[in-house]
Amino acid sequence: MAQVDQKALLEFVLRQGDNTLVLGHRVSEWCGHAPVLEEDIALANTALDLIGQTQMWLGLAAEIEGEGRTADDMAFLRDAWDFRNLLLVELPNGDFGRTILRQFLFDAFSAIYLPLLTKSADPRVAEIAAKATKEVAYHLERSAQTVVGLGDGSEESHARMQEALDYLWPYVGEMFASDGVDQAMAEAGIGPDPAGLRAEYDALIGRVLSEATLRIPEDSFAHKGGRNGYMHTEHLGHLLTQMQWLQRAYPGCEW
């Protein structure tokens, strides 16, 4: 463990925690506004799991950083350029179809990636992944079912789901756009290089989307810039403005 590049390890952990933080925030926006009561409750459950995972990931990030910060400091006091989440998760919710499809595209990745992280050489990473893996398996089951139900539902629901897939598809490729951080993690045995997981991912989503009678766009172009923080979408700033407002407006308070 001693030879692991701590800077790369921090980047790696922030990528996990920022994904769950930003997606958890987006999903929580639905609370009280979902199409049906059962969905309202289920979306809140998903958001709660993601916030719980965030507390663990960002807590670990703060520990690795070693500057006495907390998970809350990481969530509420960093600016957009410090965030390492995928562009996919910061996109606005759109309609329920887009929200559930984005959830499915993310869940499918997590359901492949997290079980591999449970074998991480860093026991702290393995422990968080073990807890999150159980939750994500359930998230995937639910989001996949709903994507199938709406894709292969009415004419309108099918059209809306296809539109959502066309919109979200260019943001899928970033999950697999690995870089030096991923290579360092792979070499240290901390986590697999995501680039190697694409085939398994395509097979998984291919099965579900085909059952949902949805067509995967042919264009393989991928927007990037979230997971390395180079260039987020305009949406992240607005999300952070809302999320961080109290901590920024009244610094140093306990809540």
Partner: protein, 330 residues
């Protein structure tokens, strides 16, 4: 308490002589604290009143998600965000149990929803007030859930079985909600000058609307007597309001906050706090739709329902396809 001014028969309670045999038998059962179950005979007015009461209670839980949901995305820490989200999710769960309880009386959830959205059914007046600062999350938990508990704890003993059982579960969660609200108030009251200001401001705005939750004074409450005879209302409005004030005043003192009532003082003779009545004209305006948030609250619920129509229809169409495919395969 999420049911206010539930319309009952509007008539005086029937005497035994006026009752039919069925009604007498029914009243004896209620008097003996034997629960009424969905398949049992019950007077039509009992059924109708309960549908109104449980429906109004369920609607209150659902509309009640909105004022607190207003702060989920602005919660100041990850823990507070998780707690608030879990709490608002609980309210949705309460709505679900209550709609299920109402359905045992022969109505559908969709029918009740339609009545809410068209304004033909009400929800508690309290949810027509805005949540303006983070301290309101504390005040809502402490005062609004606190007032709800006053009414709901006795309703665990209500005569209708499904309602009573739903209430047992709801009460457990509500008491947690109240404590989390008070915990927020403690942090705010012990925090910075700005936080203390938020806490006092929240109490100032929420106090009288919370007192209104119990409904008008007993002398003006025309629907209570029959509901009490049927044990779907256990205490009078004024009894519950007094109990709430008695319990809440020391809690405010502990926080170092001032209840916005110059007439508030302990009465040695009665053992109760004397207090000012809320502005009942304001209460009736809110019930008529003229509260600060009535229009926005109802529009938010209508939008959620209308925007979600394609989702409900799509999932239904899928289920029908599945069922047809299954039949074809057999």
């Amino acid at each position: 308490m999420y049911a206010q001014m539930v319309k009952s028969t509007g008539d005086a309670v029937k005497s035994r002589e006026e009752m039919s045999d069925d009604e007498r038998h029914f009243q004896d059962k209620v008097d003996a604290n034997i629960k009424v179950e969905p398949r049992d005979w019950m007077p039509d007015d009992y059924r109708k009143t309960l549908i109104r009461q449980i429906g109004q209670h369920a609607h209150s839980e659902i509309v009640g998600q909105l004022p607190e949901g207003n702060w989920i995305t602005r919660a100041p820490t990850l823990e507070r965000k998780a707690i608030l989200l879990a709490k608002v999710q609980d309210e949705a769960g309460h709505g679900l149990y209550l709609y299920c309880a109402a359905e045992t009386l022969g109505v559908t959830r969709d029918d009740l929803t339609e009545k809410l959205l068209s304004g033909r059914m009400k929800y508690s007046s309290i949810f027509n007030y805005p949540t303006l600062t983070w301290a309101d999350m504390g005040a809502v938990g402490w005062l609004v859930d606190g007032a709800a508990i006053m009414n709901q704890v006795p309703l665990q003993r209500t005569s209708y079985g499904p309602y009573s059982r739903a209430m047992v579960r709801i009460c457990k969660e509500e008491s947690f909600h109240q404590r989390q609200g008070y915990a927020i108030m403690m942090k705010m009251a012990q925090g910075s000058a700005a936080q203390r200001k938020m806490a006092q401001d929240a109490l100032n705005r929420m106090w009288y609307p919370s007192l209104m939750m119990f409904g008008p004074s007993d002398k003006d409450s025309v629907h209570s007597a029959q509901s009490m005879a049927w044990k779907i209302k256990i205490n009078t409005n004024d009894e519950l309001r007094q109990k709430f004030v008695n319990e809440t005043v020391p809690q405010a003192e502990y926080l170092g906050l001032t209840i916005p009532d110059e007439n508030l003082k302990f009465n040695e003779e009665t053992g109760n706090y004397d207090f000012s009545q809320p502005d009942w004209d304001e209460f009736f305006e809110v019930l008529k739709g003229n509260g600060p948030c009535n229009t926005d609250r109802l529009n938010a619920r209508r939008k959620a329902w209308d925007d979600g129509a394609w989702v409900r229809e799509g999932l239904l169409a899928h289920a029908e396809k599945r069922a047809a495919a299954k039949v074809a395969a057999e």
